[in-house]
Amino acid sequence: MRTPTYVRGKQGWVERVHGEFRNPESLAYGGDGLPRKALYMVGFRQSDLWHARYRESSGDTLYVDIYEGWLVPADSAEGTGSG
């Protein structure tokens, strides 16, 4: 599983679309990785990820590459803000 636990259920934004790649969840089990899956660079505010645990600067952000199967539209997820 390439999607880190610490971003699951969190809300972010699509910073960049990387294109389509062979699906690692198929490749990991000896499959051909097809059909290819879209990969996105998704940005998060550090304060949204860690809340009070993040004691550094409020403008800091974090980016993770996430395959489309792990993303849902922000308005269908819990919480507020833009997706």
Partner: protein
């Protein structure tokens, strides 16, 4: 290994005999557990015909031919040539090819430009994803649990331990490299480097500055290091 241990071996000459008959055995026994496991897996793959010895050696040669010097050349060229910098940011593989750096292969690259207001830091929380086709093997600390877990939650504290203190109004962007993209930081050109040649500038670009834990060297510090 302790003196006592060596002494014990001296008293029991057979240990030495084994080493003499199979000189590689003594070397192998010094390898820690995971190393032994890797050699065992390598031997099995060769035995089963999945890989050949040549395949393994070719991959070792490929990796040994890569070093942070490649990245330093890319960064120095980007500092002196704005058009090259744009190409490096928009198409890293072809920019590498322009300098004779073979970064072809399965993975894609993203070059992250540090600016006056943005500082980029790269980590792989999952394992050790790193722009190996350009920089070679990552440093051991990059693969450590401490770096992998702390870089995402307290990046400034981690950078401080590398001697890097950023102003609060500089935004820190952490990139958790987890899939098919590899990230390379383009550090800022240090001040007071106007008269320097591209080759001299490249000496200011360290491996760590391309991961983002440090800035590029100041020219005076680089001179001090050379002495």
């Amino acid at each position: 290994m302790s003196t006592e241990h060596d002494h014990a071996h001296d008293q029991h000459g057979h240990t030495h005999d084994v080493a003499q008959h199979d000189p590689e055995a003594a070397e192998r026994n010094k390898v820690p557990f995971y190393g032994k496991r890797i050699y065992a897996i390598r031997d099995l793959l060769i035995e089963k015909g999945v890989l050949s010895r040549d395949d393994v050696q070719r991959q070792i040669d490929y990796m040994d031919a890569r070093s942070p010097a490649n990245g330093a050349r890319l960064v120095a060229r980007a500092w002196v040539d704005p058009a090259f910098k744009q190409r490096l940011l928009s198409n890293p593989k072809s920019a590498c090819a322009e300098l004779g750096i073979d970064a072809s292969g399965l993975v894609e690259f993203v070059v992250l430009e540090n600016t006056e207001k943005v500082h980029n830091l790269v980590v792989c929380t999952l394992c050790s994803c790193y722009p190996r086709p350009i920089l070679g093997r990552p440093p051991d600390w990059y693969k450590s649990f401490a770096y992998r877990s702390r870089a995402v939650v307290e990046p400034r504290a981690v950078m401080r331990e590398f001697g890097t203190e950023l102003a609060a109004d500089v935004a820190v962007r952490v990139f958790d490299s987890s899939a098919d993209m590899r990230y390379l930081v383009l550090p800022r050109r240090p001040a007071a480097t106007d008269g320097m040649s591209e080759e001299e500038l490249a000496t200011l670009v360290t491996r760590d500055s391309m991961i983002g834990v440090t800035l590029a060297r100041e020219p005076a510090r680089a001179a001090a290091v050379v002495r």
